[in-house]
Symmetry: C2
DNA sequence: GTTAGTGCAAATGATTTGCAAACAG
DNA sequence: CTGTTTGCAAATCATTTGCACTAAC
């Protein structure tokens, strides 16, 4: 029987030109972007990568925890390189997309405790704060 | 010029059979459901309502604050009648969909203050806690 | 009667999938 | 070589929109 060391960990991806380009793009620019936006970025930088590949790669990176994924209010999924392994949430400008990472121990604990109080297990949560950053505010 | 009284308030909807059916369905069953699910419910109850109308009505109700809308993890938007006018969030069972309303003043204030501290205005937020309710927990 | 509301079918837009060709190990 | 990865095109899926039609007021 083929019992090598195969846990629930990923089967290691191959090193391809496009994967490198995607990783680099994510490492270079800081903000969140959708798969399509990242794809445009790459094409603009003369990296020929298929949109499909961008989707597949981002999904894989997201699952492995290498990138943060969140859903924008319009429903598009956006990604960004995860700087910290620490759990955090985002404050996002509704207009320009400027993003700030926010976190608060107390809030984390509250969600956890509240869920447990109601008999829930294996709890995860998602907090998103939207607003207009001062650059985008009317005056 | 046609300058009647037109504020930012809604132009009052007309009372139609389908709107009534939708409102009733929302009032009767308690949980969250997607537009498509609600549509099925209605057809099952012999109410002939077009899917388009369900979408349009739910959207209107959501904007007027009569129903709560939230996005499921899979991206579908789900709605439910808003019992309280008080701002609250949801604790949702990942497996069976059982939902509990949760709220916490302190958390509300934290999101507000944090956003303002970063120069954001017109702040809204969205908190969702997912987990397995005890009925769905492994043991 | 007018206008808002309805519903079908077609359009949209993000994401996924089938499948053959290209490539890493 | 041999299994992955890629990428195009076509398929999905939720939601929206065009437009002719019907019902409210």
């Amino acid at each position: 029987m083929t019992t090598h060391q195969e846990g629930s960990s990923s089967p290691r991806p191959k090193a391809t030109r496009q994967r490198a380009a995607i990783a680099q793009a994510l490492a270079t620019a800081p903000g969140f972007r959708s798969a399509q936006e990242l794809h445009d970025e790459l094409r603009a930088a003369d990296h020929k990568v298929g949109l499909t590949t961008v989707y597949r790669t981002l999904q894989a990176l997201s699952e492995s925890g290498a990138v943060d994924a969140m859903r924008r209010e319009d429903g598009e999924t956006i990604y960004r390189r995860c700087d910290t392994q620490i759990h955090h949430h985002h404050l996002v400008c509704r207009s320009c997309g400027y993003t700030v990472e926010i976190e608060n121990e107390a809030v984390e604990r509250w969600t956890q405790r509240t869920a447990e109080k109601h008999g829930f297990e294996d709890v995860t949560h998602d907090i998103q704060v939207f607003g207009l950053c001062d650059a985008c505010s009317p005056e």
